[in-house]
Symmetry: C2
Subunit: 201 residues, 2 copies
């Protein structure tokens, strides 16, 4: 789901569409205002070809968003989220913290071009994964229960995103990012009155 016809079109058409969607995800991930000319150029196709496959800007954004989420899910599906929720959280962060970066700007573009219902629909999948992890951690007594789950999920993503900003600002190198995020979020999720776990080295 999310991709264009993969059966009726010709091989080179499919190749073009793929290049466009990929370029769109990259360009819009960098700059939500990226023009269709820019995307077409980055994809190595003419602007007219883009319009042959996508009838409007919104369709391109939708396709790029879907692709980014598909890629993200693909990566996140390989992560083992069972066992100690604190370790699972660390694995989740290690695998996915850089995924947030590209999608963040894309979401801005999506919010301007797509209907709220579509946005919600696209976001339901990935959000559920983390929510479940946090909920399990709370049920097993490892995470605090004095704050709403939605808030905790948002904090997690927010801190991940802040790491990418720090990297861009040159105040953080990407090899330390996962550690910093884990150490921060793990502490933030700790129940008041109990000690903060030592972060993994």
């Amino acid at each position: 789901m999310g991709s264009k016809d993969t059966t009726t079109k010709r091989a080179d058409a499919r190749r073009s569409i793929d290049a466009i969607v990929q370029a769109a995800a990259e360009c819009l991930g960098r700059n939500p205002d990226a023009s269709l000319s820019e995307i077409a150029r980055a994809a190595g196709v003419g602007r007219v070809t883009l319009y042959a496959h996508f009838s409007s800007r919104a369709e391109v954004v939708d396709a790029a968003m879907s692709r980014a989420l598909d890629r993200g899910n693909e990566v996140l599906d390989t992560v083992d989220l069972t066992g100690d929720p604190r370790l699972a959280l660390h694995r989740y962060i290690e695998a996915g913290w850089h995924l947030v970066d590209g999608t963040r700007a894309l979401i801005v573009a999506a919010q301007r071009e797509l209907s709220p219902a579509r946005i919600l629909e696209l976001h339901a999948g990935p959000a559920a994964r983390v929510e479940a992890l946090v909920a399990r951690g709370r049920a097993e007594g490892h995470f605090r229960t004095d704050l709403p789950i939605s808030w905790m999920v948002n904090v997690l993503h927010s801190v991940m995103h802040s790491a990418t900003e720090e990297i861009r600002a040159g105040r953080l190198t990407s090899d330390h990012a996962a550690h910093h995020i884990s150490a921060t979020v793990l502490a933030a999720f700790t129940t008041p009155g109990t000690p903060v776990p030592e972060p993994a080295p």
Copy 2:
């Protein structure tokens, strides 16, 4: 500094300039792409009047940014940041968490229109205030020292910003915001191995 001439111009001119800067801060705070027509309309003046006082878009953005920071500093100057750093942090959050909201989108506009040097210059003041507080909390043994100060400051602002997102999404009411932020950041700042302090009710 930051404001236009307040002596040479006539009274109604000063009034117009003020209305424009105020409207710009509001409009750009909502949407960093807001056009000058939009800003002029919101200020209740003609578009030409705007150009009579500001020679370019960048000048408007700069003025709006300066104004927002001035207002922020004004508010933050009333906050007592002495005493127990954990309580001081709570007071800081309570006073200023909503200030981050308006400035965040403004910063996006500023980053596109202003020179990096100017951005840095504008940001130096407010950043120093929090940095000093965090540094003091570390020196007094209340905050963790295993993460860089710049990272901790960024986490604080990031979590503040995430609160405004949660409010917009309808998952949080603004009366709970300060408490959630404080509870989260206080835990995040706690040294590993030591217990998380109970948040203020």
